[in-house]
């Protein structure tokens, strides 16, 4: 064998080849066949997006239902407000209305008691 120092920084190819011969196991064709059949049965690999999409589907459905419910409630409230009794007069207006003196007195009484 070629003289090499154990300190050599480079690869000792002669030693490497000898090691490769030692490490080349028995029955390489059998090994390759076994590995080939193991590789043929690899489980299907799902991407993180697939996993996320699977997880997201029910969540998206629930979120859409919740959003629909909230939107429906908001629209219903909005539609209901104009239907409030038209005859109701805000307190500020009632206080200014001289023709309703009785009401003003009642309001003042209430305010003084506070």
């Amino acid at each position: 064998m070629t003289e090499h120092s154990a300190f050599d920084a480079g690869r000792d190819t002669e030693m490497g080849d000898l090691m490769a011969e030692v490490l080349d196991g028995p029955d390489p064709s059998g090994y390759l066949a076994r590995l080939g059949s193991a590789l043929a049965g690899l489980p299907s690999r799902r991407s993180p997006w697939d996993v996320l999409a699977e997880w997201a589907r029910p969540s998206v459905l629930v979120a859409a239902l919740a959003a629909g419910f909230i939107l429906g409630m908001a629209l219903w409230q909005h539609w209901r407000e104009p239907l409030a009794p038209a005859g109701m007069i805000p307190v500020s207006v009632a206080m200014l209305d001289a023709s309703r003196l009785g009401e003003t007195q009642v309001i003042y009484t209430v305010l003084e008691e506070r």
């Binding site: 080939g36 489980p43 690999r45």
Partner: protein, 180 residues
């Protein structure tokens, strides 16, 4: 199909392309696993497990770089993992493993005799030295790459390689000097 094409196809879920990639390095992979584990059956298991791990992690592989170092690194890590598990399971002292591959002297040619000596000497090496010298001299990995696999400083890898080489050469020299 070139290697980057196969890798890209594998990343898109093509198991056949992935299989072709792995099969191109299957023998190298078994050598590395055998260098670490010192047992053919376990080495084969380690390569199969590593292939599965590589398949699951193929998204993290950069197809612009060579597949071999990436895959062999997974094989080496898998083998080291398996070795640790075996140690825990058996309480086995691997550094004192005895050679099991010694053909009868009659059957040995000079080359076979050398191989027998190397095999015996390798089995007597401490696990990390054996791994380092297998990857360095056997497979051409750099000190830095081996340091990354073994998770030790580069200087430590140099020391492992040095001691392993010294032991292997001692085994060969004793063969040359032995009386006929």
């Amino acid at each position: 199909m070139t290697e980057p094409d196969l890798a890209t196809a594998a990343q898109k879920g093509d198991a056949e392309a992935f299989g072709r990639l792995v099969m191109s390095y299957a023998l190298v992979a078994r050598r590395v696993a055998q260098g670490i584990l010192g047992n053919w059956d376990e080495a084969e298991d380690a390569v199969q497990e590593a292939s599965l791990a590589a398949w699951q992690a193929i998204d993290r592989y950069d197809p612009s770089r060579a597949f071999r170092p990436w895959f062999i690194r997974i094989v080496a890590n898998q083998s080291l993992d398996q070795l640790r598990r075996r140690k825990l399971r058996d309480g086995e002292e691997l550094d004192e493993m005895t050679p099991t591959l010694t053909p009868s002297p009659e059957a040995m040619t000079d080359r076979a005799l050398l191989r027998g000596r190397i095999a015996g000497a390798m089995r007597l090496l401490p696990e990390r030295q054996r791994t380092a010298v297998t990857l360095f001299d056997g497979e051409g990995y750099s000190h830095a790459e081996i340091a990354a696999i073994l998770q030790v400083p580069e200087g430590t890898v140099r020391s492992y390689v040095f001691h392993a080489r010294r032991a292997l050469r001692k085994a060969l020299v004793s063969l040359v000097e032995a009386p006929a």
